[in-house]
Symmetry: D5
């Protein structure tokens, strides 16, 4: 059994259960962001052992799947890059359009280094707007300075 | 003269002036986000005519450059994808790791559609943290529903 | 079961039934464009729950398939790009040949922004012509202005 | 001098003149679609000799450029595929999302063959809409049947 | 069942039967070129219903296969491009070496347009030669002029 | 000076002279196919020393160019593959669609081997046709058997 | 059954038998180079009917496999290029490093043409050396002159 | 000045001198293989200081070029892979067709390791043959065993 | 059975056993580096016959798997390059950032040649650090000089 | 002036000076690793202002170059990936062969996270060995744990 198999099993079980990711995530661990839990169920993050077992029970997954959900995955969720799906592509486009701007402004503020994609957190919420509601994403990553040695 | 030539001229002029993007942006138009202005100076957004002229004066750019800064650019700031620069690559990595999670959670909340990368705004700031300061990015994009017809 | 499996089941069922896409689409929902319905059956659009069930009944698809037809798909219908199939390639060629012309003329008329591929509709019809009938495609997409912020 | 040089000269001359594509096209030949003329000025179509000379006079291009504008170009206007520019990418996305639908519906109506991208014409206009104006594109291409022999 | 499955079934059946493509094609329809029939059996062309049934009987293919052989295929016979097989690669090489020569000489003779790959026919025969027999390919494609509009 | 420079010089000189490839080729050497001569002028074949000098005189090329036209070129005339130009792409498409058919029928007739793209010749002519004139290409390549050893 | 299936069966059978390629090749046909026979067993060359049957008996392959071993394969043995395996990559590297040198020296000696990869033979042997034994490869390919016509 | 500039200068000087690679190599250092010397002149190997100076004198290269010829180059002589030039492509094809055979037979003889492309030498000569002369290449590379540790 | 199947079996067995790579490696052969043994279990190195059998017993693998673990693999462990997994990507990034520095400094010290990736060994250990523990990798590869001949 | 121009100027100046990287680095700042300084001179790291000026004086670079050497570069030193140069390719190969082993063993020791390529240092030295001297590389990168949130 591979992690991709588990992701497929999760999709099948979720579809049949009619539950939302939000509810599934809350049931697995309400004190962790639903983004983290969902990403783990999609094969991109690691659940703790107890969470993985709760997930397996909740979704009716086989025992192997619980073990795999607690294992560090080989990351990379997009079938091929650039992403063909329009929702995901828009994020890719933002990197292409704003990439050099991010670089200039972050390094002007912090010096030579990067924003970590590991020591990183994120929230996502609906921002009501009379002209059409908006998706609001707040990202925060630790700045890491290039070490001189 | 191409837009890439203008971007190169901007870099040369900025380097010699010793000014920061923040100061340059504020001088061009303090009521517009420095992200927008910087992105325009890097060939990714459009300045208004008056802004472009102010930019040209400020940076000592030739008249042609002012015309080009007010022209809609052919967007795409990254020399080649995936980006080889580590700071920019981390954003690309976030798309690969969190892409399917974005898709599941945004569409669960909003239905079938996308977050616009056009009707979109963003802020970037330093988030002080005793364990090391963090880069904080807030993004907000209008949700666009797939039209049925 | 994946959405690709459903697409394959749809092709198999359609072939055996001898029905046309036009007839299938009309049976599923006559007030929605057959383009929309066909695209959904090919894994690119979402059917409403009742439509998905009608589709499943009509084509003899298993219950899972009905659930999947009402789920938002991971879009991207072409096995690999550029498309190897000549009919589809001609559209790709139009983008290569006319892409910059679209950009110049649309932005000259509307300003900086894009034609939405989400708030978008399309018709396709036969245009009789003594020198050989023609395919007529009418596309209409909302213009979205780049937001300044 | 290459056709790309001519395209660059056209962009430079147009920028300085302040004229629109529409006006330039009308001045070159008002009885031909501005799409055709603009595409030629962008290196994708061929002008007739007299048109090319009018274009060169109008835009102050050197004599070589007039010769080149009347020469059949090596087509392909996009610097690299997939297009990095959002406006053009949306058309590429339409091919990825609707490609198989085009194939199924056109071939269901016409039999085995393709829509020509050569014996092809197109109009583009603004479609006023209270919810936001729309880009309207009408395309028409001759259907070509696969020949059996 | 996919068209690729049918192609595989055809290869298996042909191998066991010991028949040649020439004989199979003649048995299916002697008045159509064996190139057309063979291409259809390899998933690149469409057989007529009666031909497909004859093919299925001749080769012992299941009923589904007959339906698929009469269906318009998603064309593209080469596993990946450039072709790794030397025989096919030589044709690819001819395009790379002679491509611009074809363009110059065909357009010098016919004006702006292309040689159709749809209204196209071809013969292949052995050309005896004392220095070693030669493969003779005669291709003929309708010239299509770029339409001005 | 590179061979690409020579090709560019040839294009410039031909454009100014108003001569056709056919006439230029005939003037250089009427007993060799204009396809060969044109291909050499486009950097894909080798002219003999006397021909190269005639070509240089005829087109007003510098002495270096004559030396280069008689030098064996690094072949490959297409800026990038797949070709973006529609005329050349149609040949590429023929390889994708008919590639496996070529392989099956040539090897059925000749055994294991290839059609040479080196010991190869070709003619191109206009085939008048009331339904629209056709491009006629006759190719002939020596069959080379795979050697067993 | 595909040729790849046969290659896999050959690997499985060889592994269980404990036999070497050298011994297998000698048993199939001692008067043909073990390189040829091994390449055929790996799906890159064609065995004669009697050899294929001997191979099938020797390795316990099913009857279909014998038929396939005598069929001309679709060549190309490397899963993807550039080769990821270090032994094979070194040959790829030799082409990158020495490719232009081969071209200059072979064409200086023989004129315009190529070394055939079809009318080609090769030996491989161990060359004892006190500083470490060496792999010795002798290749010989017929020179083919570009034909003028 | 880059090494590519030097390679271009070498080509220009050689062309004007009318000398062969063989003669140039012999004049630079007759006790080293002309393959080595030619490869160095093409930017793939390193000349010793005295050789580089002799080369510069012989070919009339500037002093910088002599320094560069004695510098270790960034190797990789082929403009893009796969090589578009037919002579070089045939070597690439040999790797694709015989790659796995090389691997099996070399490792069967020598164990786990590779043939070095660094401690490697080669000769190239004309092999007269009544059926057409042949190119004979003898390669010899030290076998390097994978180290266990 | 392929080597990839074995790697999958190893992962499944390890997961169920709850054992670490370190323990498994020590049980297979404590006098060989756990890096070597783990790499072999992941399909990149070769185990000796006795080790392979011990591995099969320890992990409950079928007899075929033991044979395959002692067979030289087709190397290349990354599903696709560049690696999508962040941990592995960082090593790829180091090559992109420091590649030319490695080249300059190694060749300045040792002359023209390479660091072998075959006669190569490596250790990996935890380096405690109050600011956060570090991964310490020590690599050592034999320097191989380019041979002149 | 771009950073690539500076790198080229550095190479030219170093070549003429006859100095080694080691000496240049020591002259610029003896208390920083020559790897860091060399990487900066090759456009991959940032020098401090005083160091950049010392570098410019030492190598006779223009004032602009000093400014650029103190600017954060757009990283990525390899012309194209995979690297064509054998010395650098061997590091790329190590990632392909050992990538999954690194992942398994680092994450087994440290948990879910990565080895930083930013808070990273490295030494390189000659390791004398009677069987041939070895290149010794010691790398140390901070382990960064994936943050849960």
């Amino acid at each position: 059994m591979t992690r991709d198999d588990v992701t497929q099993l999760v999709h099948d079980a979720k579809r049949k259960s009619g539950k939302s990711w939000k509810d599934i995530a809350a049931a697995i661990n309400p004190s962790v962001s639903p983004i983290c839990i969902t990403a783990a169920l999609l094969g991109q993050m690691t659940l703790e052992k107890a969470e993985a077992e709760k997930a397996a029970t909740l979704l009716g997954l086989p025992a192997d799947a619980a073990l795999l959900l607690a294992e560090i995955p080989y990351r990379g969720s997009i079938p091929s890059m650039p992403p063909t799906d329009p929702l995901i592509y828009r994020f890719y486009e933002l990197v292409m359009v704003y990439g050099t701007t991010f670089k200039e402004l972050i390094q002007e503020e912090f010096g030579d280094g990067i924003m970590s994609a590991i020591d990183f957190d994120m929230t996502m919420e609906r921002q009501p707007d009379p002209k059409g509601d908006r998706v609001k994403l707040n990202m925060s990553g630790k700045f890491l300075s290039y070490k001189r040695y």
